[in-house]
Each structure stands twice: as structure tokens, then as C-alpha cells.
Symmetry: C2
Subunit: 746 residues, 2 copies
């Protein structure tokens, strides 16, 4: 594994043999190496460090990052070493201190290599010797959580993260340490930490992102300690039989399109160890061609993660924190590594948005690209990201028009997403004008805020955020999909019927079976441009059939202030009942409830100066309910957000259909309003013998229809009549426009 | 009144006598004048137009504004002239079209002068001829509102605004019109409009901003039509006896410090006609020295308006729209005129923030200043803005540390603010970190949104937004100040006791009598820096005494998500009662209610990544209630916002005391939290014989005390003891710090 730098290592070994006798100087900085090759750096080679030390200052982004690291580290050095006995939960003092320590170790190693200043080595050495004294004394963390408590942190995952970071710093200084200290630190910090992580199959031998952090930590430590056994176990599982381990994780955790089952929030978290370890493998064992594995799936995953964002923030499906986005630290490594391999200049604009880079050879390439003015806009495009290792377990459909802050519709037809998955098959999100318009609650959690249960997932994450009613999809009989059991959910993925994305018409359709016994539902959504509409509109058709009569609820969680409710409803203005008793319904206050009726209704709201008119109907009589989250929330853990629920009772089948129209502008500064009126005047739905159709009538009388065949695979002709207007098309679906006829205009 | 440009006007008259025969050319642009001096422009002189035409293009901000005007105007010219019969309310089609028309007239006149292109003249001429046909046919607007309906618009105020703008455009083209058309437009548009506005004393003879628009419109029209009678009436009131009119408004509507009784939202609205008309007076009758009147109060008003903002948005006291700020159109004129007179380069940074300027001689000066790189940061400083024509009717106290986005505390000790005033004597607002932390609801209104009652003030403005409980000040027996009668309120202003603003300690104190019969309350607030606190904290002491036992409620409307409630309380998690029946209480849902107790309590919330810990107590047992707005709101007109209410029952006197501490950081992107714990561990209040004191104990044991004398005017010594610690000071108030003693640290 030393093939790439063997001769260099020998060469610099001679040059630096006298290091301990000489004061450190920048001239020496680039070439401090060890007295023996088993201590030369392997995660970044000595030659690469040398290049960064000599070239880095010429590139402003690299120099800025170096200065930032220096400021952070020197502040910590000034404060003095602090390796406290582990005591606190996430967000607590000892937790945060150990986090800062691994950042300091990484920075110390890096800055030592970039400047040659041995003060950094000494600081890291002294800190690591404290860890060497502390670590062997540690048992399970006193606040230990989950099946395997951590040692330094309450959850073992944080221990893995510590090691991934610290070992990179250690690699950089290892050859500058006195042999005795190196031995002490090897034997009392890094090796026992790695062995602890690898010792428990429930941590190590899993197909799960926590395990990715564990195998990356042990594998990178294996390279640094020249422990090929540890590397092998990390790559192939603790039994070295390829049932688990990093390679198996690469094969199973990403779909062929690079989508990660748990969704973007966890994808970015998992991505860091995937890419850091892959980079270490590539550096030390390039013959494994790790970046080519599965047609380059690791680099695809980086691209896909950026695509899974809107205005810089990830789509918050499943357990996600809403303010997490492409500037997250974990993706900084990803963009650097992806850019240095692909040279794709669109990634540079993401790096610009991140505002930072890593002090690594890959970071240097990013800095060079940015300095050369090569950055190109990232190209946000509609796409279907197939889910599942073989790409046949549903997928995430992204419809987009208008670029980064234009319209984006996300239809969640993915797998369950394991324990962090929400029960929201065929859920959808909609963005427009830089805003979340049709929303996903994300997770109920205040990350690292100790006062909020130590920053972990709150009870309301299970009782509200994961439940189906907290999403924009079908709820049957007030129960969640799979009755709220994610392990059952793992066994049933939606089927993608079709996905087509053109300039003016983008359509996605999927079917879900077995979310409820005997219930099948199909959702078809389209993003449609029309010359008479200022902005694209969303058409939504949700067809449900069940083997027995049931209650069907379809929530729409919208963001904004209600401007008008175009329907009569009983209002609960002075006593506010709770909507239901369980499965999330207990968290909804009921504000208004209409009678059951079959005519389409409207609801309009205002968000950030734009109007949204939602026109919705159903094939069977439905009630419209206006609700708000926040009931049964004794600790004020929930955000209070409005939703509309369409409710159909006692039917075996129903089609919900709607159109969502962004329009107009409200400008409070300049005090004007225009386009406050919807340009849609009617919405109809009709069935033919083997197909269904939704027809939108515009103010002019012009019409836009979307026909959807029951069987999306057959190439046959379909006919649907609406009030005497006959629509014909061939195949799975069609958009059919009709110009306004005589007397059509209102 | 033609003294400034008489000779020039004669000179150019000859040169342009043949204008109609020649194609327009830029060479001619600067000097088109009329065949007789009674048609030369007077609001901007021909010489000034000439200078702008020849120099404007050299200054990017001016050129950009000209291009923007050109684009706007040519889009309208392309759409064709549209002068509809007035029909709609605010936000409706005819309303918005007439607004666009006055903007077009102003732009047409301006661009004609700047380019010489007579197409603009022709467009304005044709539009004005349509108005000349329409206007004489108009009676009261069909949706007419208030005592005097408008003609072109539903409220006469909008007619005034139309005229202020349109007459400026007309002035610029008047000498380029055929005499017949000019006569038609003079006689059928501008003169009758001005006469209509001046005809009704309820519109014209008032000391009120609506009337300022009216007198500005008629006065400027008077100058343009050479109708000195109209000018005199505008300046001195319709009876020309100086009881009303512009000069009287300048004398009565501003305090000597330039504060405007209604508050910043209306100040910016009133400011435009004040400054535009003053500028016209200065141009035509400089001997009136209008800008020197009352020690330059009009220019002070511009400065004060900028000071009355936080992070670009005005303090939303009284009836205010929250998103109105220094970039508002009306202040663009103000900044230009103030800058051209004062040359104060700090105003240029405000102009930069506005991103625009006027195409006037004053706008040109701004463009020149910006091009020369003269802009300096505006200096946001603590200040007391005295209220009332003589400065003795209370005032607005602004405490500030940390500049534009640092800490700002606004204590509202002002006059009632007439019909748009809220019942919130000694209310306070607090800003930090660019956010509204302790909030004012502003007005209940969706400006110009037709679906929301045509965009006017909603019923909830009276039933909620104006009521005392909607603010952060004392409510007695669930009634609002002055029992909700603003005319009574006009008669009683608070008394400012003292105001002192140093580097580390800023204090404001005021007393209110007669808001309730027999009740006196005094509020003293301080913004305090301390080396052990990361950020300044707010100390608040509200002392109440009444002549009989009563219920005292003290609300705190806070912005953020509750992190912890440091007190036991009954929670209403599954049925949500309404707090009360009237005076705003009917709009509050009750979420939690504690027992009555005398120990201080805490409430902490999180806002935009920062923690706020509020520690509060009272000298008599109090309950803590957590509430949220939104009850009894059938049309969803209210925002739903949380508040804490401290309630003391059956007492004749009480002191409420509290400390609000901003601290720490929550970073969701980088996933860290620090400083989540309050650094304050105790809060006490004690009385001496003639003074009261609030003492804050920090984590280290160090103490900060604020002593407040009952009589703020006497220079005598006061003593207050707290748990054996004796505090002595002389005079109205004092901050006294104590270092931590032995064993003090926790």
C-alpha cells in the first residue's frame, strides 16, 4: 500500500532525520517525514502535503480556509487542552468539547504539514496523550443510548465520527512524534478505539450509515497503523466474508442512480464517510478502483445530493432537519473529491455556495478551479432517482422548471428509508419563489439542544412527524401506512408507472399497494406551463380503490397565510377541538369543517409576496377540514403549521384531483398588488372506460387536460368525455390543450 | 415666483418657438420651453432639467434609474392608454390602473425633459385628455369610503397622491403642449382636482397626514397653474388664517426632534408630501425659508425616520405594516432632498440600501455622491425622540448597542398617535441578531389584498391589534388604555422621567397616569453590557399602583420556539380555551396556566440560532399564562403568535421585574450548539424607603443592580438592601456592579 510514495518517503526520511534538532521552518514544512516508512502519512501523501504547503497560499479560497483553521485552532490552543471525562448528552459540555477536540486534532495535523510549525504537533501530542490516559479507563458512556453506548460520546456513532476526523490529523503528525509517544497513542487511543468500534457486529456489521462511519473509522485507522487486518475487516465485514463491510454498503445503500434510501438528510451524513474512506482506499489501494465501482455510484451520489435540494436546502423527506443544505460540512468533502475526479466545473458553483473547502489535495483543486474563474452554474434538472440497490424499488421523482429558485415538485415514491423513514408513500412537496409551499414537517427534533431532551428525536417525531397525516398523502381510516411499522414498510415499495420531463409538461406517476391491506392508490402529478398562466401550475390526481368502504383523508400541508377559503365551513373559533386520538391526529387542532359535497372548492394563501390558489375536488362527496399542528404537545415541541384535509367517508373508491396555481405579487414595500386573482375558473375530472382525465379551464376559456390511463404499459387509445368534449390519446398519459371557443371567455 | 429662471425662460422661448416643426432631438432636449413664461416648468426649473439631461448619464445610479423609468413607461405606452371609469376598491383593477397612470405621467414628463423625445409628451397629452373627458363626469367613487369619498379612487387620499405625482409630470410637459390641449387639461383635470381637494375642510383643513397630501397636491398644482390663491390656501388653510394649511402642519405634526406622532409607518407616508411640497416652496418662494422652519424640523424628520428602523424595517408601532422599511418609495424623495441640502454622506448609505433615487436635481446629487464613493455608514445611535409640538408629550426612547443589527430596545412613551395609535402606553419592543425578539403585532391588514376586505384595516385591527393586551405593557382589569378611546388618549401623554445612554449602560424611564382611572405606572428599562455576558441584557422594572385592588396583566409577545418553560403549569393540550371575552382577550387561546406564586420564573426560546432566556418575577404573587393569538378569527385574518402573560390579581400595587438575556448559538448546518445555558442564576427585587432595585446574579456570583428612585428629579441619596447587601446611590437611578465574593460561584 506504499507504492505511491515509497521512493519519496525514503528520500524525505533522510532529509528530515535531523528534524528534532532543528527549529521548524516553512522551508522544512513540506517535507517532514518519519524515520521509518511505517510512519509516513498515508491518507494524504507527503508529496501532496508538500504541494499544498508550497502552492496553497496562491489560491485565495485555500488560503482563507487555512487562516480560518489557524484562528480556530489557536483559540483552542490558547484555552488549553481539555479532555474531560465523558458525562453529557448531545449538546452538553463534555460532548461539545470532545467534538471540538477532534476538529482541533485534524486542524493541528493539517497546519503542521502546511506550515512546519511543530507547536501544532506538540499540542496534538499532548492532547492525544491525555486521551491515551483517559480512553482505557472508559466503559459505556453514563448517558449511553441505544443498544451500544459510546465510550467518549453517548452514542457510538459519535465515537466513529471522532475517529474518522482525528485519525486524519494523527496521520499527518505521526512521523513527527517521539517513538514512545507514538506507541502510547497508537496503543491506547487509535487501536483500542478502532477495535472497540469493530468489536460489536450490531455496530460494525450493518448495512446502515452508522456502520459506514464505523468501517470508515476503522479502515482509515487501519491504513494509518499499517494494520491490513483492520482494513480488510472494514472493507469486507468483521468476518471478512463480504456479507457486510464497506464494499457491501456501497453496493446496497445506494441505488444505481446514486440515491440513498434514507433520503438527502441522511445521504449527506452517510456521504462523508463513504467518500473519505473511498479516497483513502484510492490513495492506498488504487487497484480496487473504488470510484469506478457500480458505474461510479459514489460520485453520482454527490451529484444527486445536490439535485435533491432547493435554494440550497435539502428536500426534508424522512427524519430531516429543515435547515440542512448543500453548505453542510459533510458535503464539502464530497464536492472536493467529486470535483477533483470529474473536473465538472458545475460543482465549483456548489463549492462557492458552501463558502469553504477542505485543506486536502482535493480542496486545493477546488481552490485552483475557483481562482481560475471556472465555476459554472449547477444545472438543476427534472429527474427520476430510482431507489433500491437494483433501481426497482420506486424512486424519488423531481419535476423542475425555472432553475434553482423556480418550481420544484418532489414526489416521494421511494422505499421506506429504514428506521428514519416516514410513512408517506406517494407524498409530495412543492417549492416556488425560493419558498417551501407544500411542506414536509421534517423531523421533530432540536438537534443538540440539551433542553429539548438532549437534542435527540423527540417523542413527537414518532407521534407526529413520521405519521402519514403529517404528510401530503392518503390516510385510510386514520391509520398510518404499514400501521406505522417501518420493518413492514421495508418490504413494500411503490411502483413507478412513468416519468416524463419536457419543457412545458413534466409528469410523474406511481402506484402503491399494501400500505394498507386491500388498498391500492395511484398518484399522477404534472407541472404544466401555459402561455396564459404567469407561472407553471401543478396538477394532481390521486386515485384510490379499496376492497371495503373506508375513510379516506388527504392532507395538504401548506405554508402561508390564508387569504380566502372558497367554501362554507363550520368554524371553531372559541373552542378548538382535537381532530383525532392517535396516529398523529391527536396533534391537530380543528379550525374549520365543511359539509360533505362533490363540488370542487378553493383555498388561497399568501406566501412571501406570492399568491397560491389551490382548487381541489373529489369524485365522491368530501369534507374540507382546516387544521393546525400543536395539540397534545405539552412541551411545546411542535411547530404550529396549518393544513387542509379532504375527507371522504364510507366509499370504496375515490379520485382526489386538484390544481395548485402560484400567481401574482404582493409588495408591501412598494404597496402594490397585481395578479391577485386566480386565472383558473374551473376544474373537472372525468372517467372513460380505461382512463381518467383532469381538465382545467382558464379564465379565457382555454383548457388544459391531463389524461391518465389505468394501465400505463399498454400502447392503446383512450377516450374520456367531459361535458361533451371528447379527449383522445394513446399510451400511458397525455396533455391535451384546447383553445378557447366562442363564448368561452368569462 | 419666477425669479429663479425668468431670464432663462425668455431665452429658451425664442429657441423653441419652432419646436412643433422640428423633430425632437437630444440637442433640443434640455431646452424646450413655452411660448410664454407662464408655462415654463416650476417644480424643477428648465436649467435644472438641462443639467440632468446633460450630466445624468455620467452617474450610474441616475442612468440606471432613468433606464428603469424608461422600461416601465414604454411597457405602459405599448399596452396603450387606459383610463377606466373608477369602480374598484384598493387592489382592484381600476385602482391599480389609475396608480400606474400617475406613475406614467411622472415618468413621461421626466423622460421628455431628459431625452427631448416628444413621443412622451404625446402619450401624456393623450392620457390627460382622456382624464379631461372623464374627470368632470365623476361623482363620489362607487366604493367610496370614509366621510369624503374620492373621485378617481375610493378614498380621497389616493386622489391627492395622484395629483402630487401627476402634476410633477404635467409641469415638465406643459410648455410642450398645444395651447388648446393645455387649456383643456388645466381646466378639466388639474384645476378641478385641486379645487375638489381644497373644497372640503374635512379633507383640507386638518392637522393630519391625509391633509398634508391634500395641501401638497393643491399647492404644487397652484405653482404649476400660476394660481397663487391656491398656493396661499395650501400654505395657510382654506380660510388663509393660518389655523390649518401646510405651515401649521409643519408646526404641529412634528415634535422639535422631528418625531411624528403617528409613528414611523405614517411618518414615512407623511414625509413624502411634506418634503415634495417644501421643495416646491423652496424652488418658487425661497424667501419662506421653509427648510429652516422650526430649526430645520423637516430634515430632522428624515434622519429620525431612518433612526426609527432596525435592519432596514421601521419599528412597527401603531398601525404599521411589518415589511415597510427605509427602502420605501416615500423615503427615496426624503433622502434625496435631505442629502442635497445637508450633504451628510451617511445618508448616501441609506440611498444605497434603497437601491434607487428620484430623477430630480436632488437625485442627481445623490448619484454624484455615490459615484464619488462618498457613502458613509449610517450611524444608528440611542436617542430619545421627544413627542408633541413642544416636545413635552412623552417620547420614543431608543436604546441601542452593536449597530444596525445589534440590540435595539424601543420604549414607546409617545402620544396616542391619533386614530392610527394603539393603546400601548410604555410598551416596548426588542430586536437582536437582525430579528424581532419582543414584538409588536403592527396592524391587522393585508394592504391592497382585495380578498382581505379590499386591503383596508380589518375588523381585527380594532378588536386585536390596537388593544393593550396585544402589546407588551400593563393591562388593568382586562380593559385597554383609555378604555380604547383614542380621543381620550390624545389628552394624556406619558412623562419621560429620564433617559441616559452610555457605552455599557443605557436607561429609559417614563410614567403614565390616566390610562386607567386611579392607576399610575412607571417603567424603567435598561440595556446592560457586562464582561461575563456574551451579549447585552435587558432589565425591566414596571411599577404599578392603583387606588383600588385590580387585576394586572403584563404580556410579553415573544418571537421564537419555546425551548423550556421553567415553571409548573396546567396545560390545555386537548381543549383550548379562550382567555377572555373582549378587548383583545377574545383572540387569545390559552395554552398553559401556572398557580399564583411569588418566585421568579423562566421561559426560554430559540430564534434564528440564538437563545433567549427570560427571567421574570413580581412583588406580589402572579400566575404565568402562555397564550397564542388566533381565537375568534373566523376569516383567518390574524397571524398566530405566542405570548406570555404575567397576571396579578386583587392587589393595589405591584412591581413586575425581569431580565431578558440573548445568548448562545444553535447552528443547524454545522450541527453545533454553544452557550445554550443562561449565564444568569438569580433575579431579585427589593425596596428601600424611596427607591426600588433589581439585582441580577450571574453564574460567577457577580451581580448587576439597577436602582431606581421613586422621585427622579431629586438629587438625594437612596439605599436599598437585598439579602443583607446594601446598595447606595444618589439621584434618579444607578447601575451598581458587584464582583463575585468567596463561595459565590455555583
Amino acid at each position: 500500500m506504499k507504492h505511491t510514495c515509497l521512493s519519496l518517503a525514503l528520500a524525505v526520511a533522510t532529509a528530515t532525520a535531523t528534524l528534532a534538532l532543528l527549529p521548524a521552518s516553512p522551508a522544512f514544512a513540506a517535507a517532514p517525514a518519519a524515520a521509518e516508512s511505517s510512519t509516513t502519512p498515508v491518507l494524504v501523501t507527503a508529496a501532496q502535503w508538500q504541494q499544498m504547503a508550497s502552492d496553497g497560499a496562491r489560491y485565495p479560497w485555500f488560503a482563507k480556509e487555512q487562516a480560518r483553521n489557524k484562528a480556530m485552532l489557536e483559540k483552542m490552543m490558547k484555552a488549553g487542552i481539555d479532555v474531560p471525562f465523558p458525562k453529557d448528552k448531545g449538546g452538553g459540555r463534555t460532548h461539545e468539547q470532545h467534538k471540538r477536540n477532534y476538529q482541533a486534532l485534524l486542524a493541528a495535523g493539517t497546519l503542521y504539514r502546511l506550515t512546519g510549525d511543530t507547536a501544532y504537533v506538540d499540542y496534538a501530542r499532548r492532547m492525544l496523550l491525555e486521551y491515551a490516559t483517559l480512553y482505557p479507563t472508559l466503559g459505556p458512556h453514563p448517558e449511553g443510548r441505544g443498544q451500544i453506548p459510546g465510550r467518549v460520546f453517548w452514542q457510538v456513532l459519535n465515537d466513529s465520527v471522532w475517529l474518522v476526523n482525528a485519525v486524519q490529523g494523527y496521520d499527518a503528525i505521526r512521523d513527527a512524534l517521539p517513538a514512545k509517544d507514538r506507541q502510547t497513542i497508537d496503543d491506547n487511543v487509535f487501536r483500542p478505539m478502532a477495535e472497540f468500534l469493530a468489536s460489536e457486529p450490531k455496530n460494525f456489521d450493518q448495512i446502515h450509515n452508522h456502520s459506514t462511519w464505523a468501517v470508515a473509522a476503522t479502515g482509515m485507522t487501519g491504513y494509518v497503523l499499517r494494520d491490513q487486518e483492520l482494513v480488510e475487516k472494514s472493507l469486507r465485514g468483521s468476518r471478512k466474508d463480504d456479507e457486510f463491510g464497506f464494499l457491501r454498503q456501497v453496493d446496497l445503500l445506494f441505488s444505481p442512480d446514486g440515491y440513498y434510501e434514507e433520503g438527502p438528510y441522511y445521504q449527506r451524513y452517510a456521504l462523508a464517510p463513504f467518500l473519505l474512506f473511498a479516497n483513502a482506499i484510492e490513495r492506498n489501494e488504487p487497484q480496487r478502483r473504488i470510484f469506478e465501482r457500480r458505474d461510479g455510484v459514489l460520485l453520482k451520489a454527490v451529484d444527486v445530493l445536490v439535485q435533491s435540494s432547493y435554494d440550497g436546502l435539502f428536500f426534508p423527506i424522512n427524519d430531516a432537519i429543515l435547515d440542512k443544505g448543500v453548505d453542510t460540512e459533510e458535503l464539502v468533502a464530497g464536492i472536493g473529491i467529486a470535483y477533483s475526479r470529474s473536473g465538472d466545473d458545475r460543482l465549483l458553483s456548489v463549492a462557492e455556495q458552501q463558502g469553504r473547502l477542505l485543506l486536502t489535495p482535493e480542496g486545493l483543486k477546488v481552490a485552483q478551479g475557483l481562482a481560475a474563474g471556472k465555476a459554472k452554474p449547477f444545472d438543476y434538472t427534472p429527474m427520476l432517482l430510482r431507489d433500491g440497490p437494483d433501481g426497482d424499488k420506486g424512486g424519488l421523482a423531481i419535476l423542475r422548471m425555472g432553475g434553482e429558485r423556480g418550481q420544484a415538485l418532489v414526489q416521494k415514491d421511494t422505499m421506506q428509508g429504514m428506521g428514519h423513514g416516514h410513512f408517506d408513500k406517494l407524498n409530495w412537496l412543492f417549492y416556488d419563489n425560493g419558498q417551501r409551499v407544500v411542506t414536509d414537517y421534517g423531523s421533530a427534533r432540536f438537534l443538540n439542544v440539551e433542553a429539548k431532551r438532549g437534542g435527540i428525536y423527540l417523542a413527537e417525531n414518532r407521534s407526529w412527524a413520521k405519521q402519514t397525516i403529517a404528510h401530503n398523502t392518503l390516510v385510510v381510516d386514520e391509520k398510518s401506512h404499514f400501521n406505522g411499522d417501518w420493518k413492514v414498510g421495508e418490504e413494500h415499495a411503490p411502483t413507478v408507472r412513468f416519468f416524463k420531463a419536457g419543457k412545458d409538461t413534466q409528469v410523474a406517476s406511481a402506484t402503491m399497494r399494501d400500505a394498507y391491506p386491500g388498498v391500492v392508490f395511484t398518484r399522477t402529478q404534472a407541472l404544466l406551463k401555459h402561455p396564459e398562466l404567469g407561472l407553471p401550475v401543478v396538477l394532481d390526481l390521486l386515485q384510490v380503490s379499496a376492497d371495503k368502504a373506508a375513510r379516506f383523508d388527504l392532507p395538504l400541508h401548506f405554508n402561508g397565510h390564508i387569504v380566502s377559503t372558497g367554501f362554507e365551513a363550520e368554524r371553531f373559533v372559541d373552542q378548538r377541538p382535537v381532530l383525532g386520538r392517535e396516529n398523529g391526529y391527536q396533534h391537530l387542532w380543528l379550525d374549520a369543517r365543511s359539509q360533505a359535497d362533490s363540488d370542487p372548492r378553493t383555498l388561497a394563501w399568501l406566501l412571501d409576496g406570492r399568491f397560491y390558489s389551490y382548487r381541489f375536488g373529489s369524485s365522491a362527496p368530501s369534507q374540507a377540514l382546516l387544521v393546525e399542528s400543536g395539540a397534545n404537545d405539552p412541551e411545546f415541541n411542535l411547530r404550529r403549521e396549518p393544513a387542509l384535509v379532504q375527507r371522504v367517508d364510507g366509499q370504496r373508491a375515490v379520485s382526489f384531483f386538484s390544481v395548485l396555481e402560484p400567481h401574482g405579487e404582493y409588495n408591501g414595500t412598494a404597496e402594490y398588488v397585481h395578479g391577485a386573482d386566480s386565472q383558473i375558473r374551473d376544474l373537472k375530472r372525468a372517467r372513460g372506460s380505461d382512463a381518467e382525465l383532469v381538465e382545467v379551464t382558464l379564465a379565457s376559456g382555454a383548457r388544459i387536460a391531463l389524461g391518465v390511463a389505468d394501465d400505463s404499459s399498454a400502447d392503446v387509445e383512450h377516450t374520456v368525455n367531459v361535458d361533451g368534449r371528447s379527449y383522445r390519446w394513446r399510451g400511458s398519459h397525455a396533455r391535451i390543450d384546447r383553445a378557447a371557443g366562442k363564448g368561452d371567455a368569462r
